[in-house]
Amino acid sequence: MGIGECVSHQARRGGEKCYDENIIGDRVYDNEMKRELMDILCCPKCKGDLELSVFERSDDEIISGDLYCRNCDIHFPIEDGIPNMLLPEMRE
């Protein structure tokens, strides 16, 4: 399991730029540890694969983006470099 390719523009939020890249590709992640982390990240509910969209990046880090579980139809936003993997009912 791991992160799939950017879900093109489906998870894109209004007006924000979405980079059409394969995030687990070498050209994005030079940092071995961070790439491995993306590989083991999964949906906290069904433990299935997530699809990543990147809105903003700084060096090798994703500052803002979205992780999407197609199976549960849940979006997990990445804000200030921190993926919010709480289920919607646990969020404020």
Binding site: L37, D39, I40, C43, P44, P83, L86
Partner: protein
């Protein structure tokens, strides 16, 4: 307010405890170092502001309070906002999982331990640092619970209780050590680390997932 909201609001205040109680903090780090494996891939569940992950060389953490997670991230930890009972990681992902003074704040400790076991590789270690409810410190904190905004929401458990849960989950090779033998406010140097539990306020448990 629940415990997550408290940590959200008072993240800075929580973090300052470690500077104000430097010797207690350092004693706890020394005790954890006895069991935290070196050069392996670890996850801290309830990483807080990163006060334990950093000196123990742990690169990844989950934390449900965003204000705490923000501080941990600034300290170089890869942080995910998540709860101990629902970890966003595949099975068999980590060599060890560390849980320090977190079991007392989770809603469902058994489920948190079950999740920790799930993300551990076969033969991986769970390391738990906790305030022993049956120790002088556990009793002290329990009696002052209402005065502390953080501990007001805590459910302290005895070491025996946690060992019992670990056995139910079929963890093996269980070891314990302890430190903090007097009131943290009266500590004037780093406290010793002794084997076992029963005397110290802070207990560390290490147990192995079946290989």
């Amino acid at each position: 307010m629940n415990s997550i909201e408290i940590f959200e609001r008072y993240a800075q205040e929580y973090d300052e405890w470690f500077d104000a109680n430097r010797f207690a903090y350092e004693s706890e780090v020394q005790a954890l170092k006895k069991f935290v494996p070196k050069n392996s891939k670890g996850l801290e569940v309830g990483v807080g502001t990163g006060r334990f992950a950093v000196p123990l060389g742990i690169g990844v953490g989950v934390e449900p309070a965003k204000a705490m997670a923000d501080i941990a991230r600034k300290r170089g930890i890869e942080v995910y906002e998540a709860k101990a009972e629902k970890l966003p990681f595949d099975d068999s992902s980590f060599d060890f999982v560390l849980i320090v003074v977190t079991i007392c704040f989770v809603q469902n400790p058994m489920q948190a331990l079950r999740e920790a076991k799930r993300v551990l590789k076969p033969g991986g270690y769970i390391i738990i640092g906790m305030i022993d409810r049956e120790s002088f410190l556990g009793k002290l904190y329990e009696s002052k619970k209402k005065e502390s905004k953080f501990y007001r929401h805590a459910n302290f458990y005895s070491t025996r209780q946690v060992l019992d849960w670990l056995k139910k989950l079929e963890f093996e090779y269980i070891k314990t050590c302890q430190t903090i033998f007097k009131d943290p406010k009266k500590i004037t140097g780093i406290e010793p680390v002794k084997e076992g539990y029963g005397e110290g306020g802070f207990v560390v448990i290490s147990a192995q997932k079946q290989a």
